[in-house]
Amino acid sequence: MKPPPFQYHRPQTREELGALLANLDNVKILAGGQSLMPMLNLRVVAPDHLIDINRIPELAGIRETTDGIEIGAMTRQADILASPIIRDRLPLLARALEHVGHIQTRSRGTIGGSCCHLDPSAEQPAICAALDAEFVAIGPKGRRVIAAADWFQGMLQSALDDLEFLEAVRFKPWAKGHGYGFAEYARRHGDFAISGAAALLEADGGGSITRAALLVFGVEEAPRRLSEAEAALVGQNIGEIALAPILDAARALHPMEDVQVTADYRRHLAGTLLGRAVREACVSREQRQ
C-alpha cells in the first residue's frame, strides 16, 4: 500500500459533496485520479480526507444548450473524444485530446480534474482558455460562473475556494467552418508537453480574418493568450498571414525554466508551435468550407 492513510468518502449527489466540503479539513477531491493517484502513490500529497466524486452521475455528460455546449466536470476524456457533438462544434478540443495521455488514462481522466489540477502543460485547460470557456462552480452560496480569464490563478491554482467544486465547463462554439490548429512538443507521444500552442480563426467569404485566438501553454505558469497578436491577425487574408507579429509576441513571453528545459528553448518552441498551429488553422478553415 503506497498512498498515506486517509478517510474515504463517496458522495452520491452534489449536495452530499457540498456538505462534505463544508465539514471536513485537509480534503482532496478524487476525480479521474490520473494526476492525484500518482501524487498519492508517491506521497506528494497526504490528505486527511479523500472525496471520490466518481459516483455522482449529474457531474458527467455533454449537453447542447441554447447558447453553447456544457461538459460536466466528471466527463471522461475518452467520452469527449468520442462525441460527434464535440468533433463537429468544438473540434479544437477533440484535436487536443488526442495528445492527452493514453487510452488507459483517457478512460479515467476527466476534463474537470485537469482544469482543477492545472498543470501548466495540460491541454484541456489550455483549450478552455483559447475558447473563452466558463467554469461553473458550486459552493455554499450556490452557483458561480467564472470566466476563463479569471480561472487561472497561477501554477496548479484555480479560482475555486476550499468550499467549492467544479460542476461543469461551458463553451460557446465558434462559427461553423472555423479554422482550428494545435501543435505541441513532447519527448514521447502522450507525455506531458514541454510546450504547446493553439489557434482559432474565422474569416469572411473573401478570406479576410474576422476573429482570431492564439494561445500557448507549458510556457508560462498558466496558459497564455496573445491578445495583441490576435488583434494583428484580424483583417489579414487567410492565404498570406504575416507571422512576424506572432513571433514578436512569442519573444516577449516569460517562460518557465527547469533542469531539462531552458526559458530560451521554451520561448523558441512557443514561436515555432504557434506558427504550426496558425498554418494548421488556415488549412482546416479551407477544408471545412
Partner: protein, 159 residues
C-alpha cells in the same frame, strides 16, 4: 482506517472482498486476491504494466483505488485463457515473439484486448498509438504490433 466491503465481478465470477481504502487496485489484485498476473512497474501511471479492463475500458490499476471497483466488472490477464487454451491474442504473441522477459506482457495484452474489441480493423499506426502507453524494455514493439494485426486478420476471416 477501516476496511470497506466491495462486491464486483472478476473475470466472470462474482467476488466479495474487503479492502483498505488506500490500497490501489493493482496491489489489491496481487496481494489481496493473489492474482499476480497483473504486474506493477512504475506505480505512477507511466509504464502501463498494470493495465486491466474495468467495465470494458482499459485502465491503469495503479491509478485506481480497489474500493472504486465496487459494483464494477474487472478483467485481468488471468481471464484471457479459457479451459487451458490461450486466447487468440495470447497465441499471436507467442507466434510472433511478442514477449521476451514477459514483464510488460499482461499490460500489453489487456490494453490490446480492450482496444481490438472496439477497433476491429486497426491500421499499424492505430496499434502503435494504442500501445503508446505501455513500455517494453526487451523484445521491442515490432512483434507485439504484428501479433495485434494478425489477431485482427484472424478474427476478420472467421465465418
Amino acid at each position: 482506517m477501516s476496511e470497506r466491503h466491495l462486491s464486483f465481478t472478476l473475470n466472470g465470477e462474482r467476488r466479495e472482498a474487503n479492502a483498505d481504502p488506500r490500497m490501489h487496485l493493482a496491489d489489491f489484485l496481487r496481494h489481496g486476491l493473489g492474482l499476480t498476473g497483473t504486474h506493477v512497474g512504475c506505480e505512477h501511471g507511466v509504464c502501463g504494466a498494470c493495465t486491466v479492463i474495468v467495465d470494458g475500458a482499459p485502465v491503469r490499476s495503479c491509478l485506481m483505488l480497489a474500493v472504486q471497483v465496487d459494483g464494477c466488472t474487472v478483467e485481468t490477464v488471468e481471464g484471457l485463457a479459457k479451459g487451458g487454451e490461450l486466447s487468440p491474442l495470447q497465441q499471436a504473441f507467442a507466434n510472433h515473439h511478442g514477449l521476451q522477459c514477459g514483464f510488460c506482457t499482461p499490460g500489453m495484452l489487456m490494453t490490446l484486448e480492450a482496444f481490438l474489441r472496439v477497433t476491429p480493423s486497426p491500421t499499424e499506426q492505430d496499434v502503435r498509438i494504442a500501445i503508446s502507453g505501455n513500455t517494453c524494455r526487451c523484445t521491442g514493439y515490432q512483434g507485439i504490433v504484428e501479433a495485434a494485426l494478425t489477431t485482427t486478420a484472424a478474427k476478420g476471416s472467421r465465418p
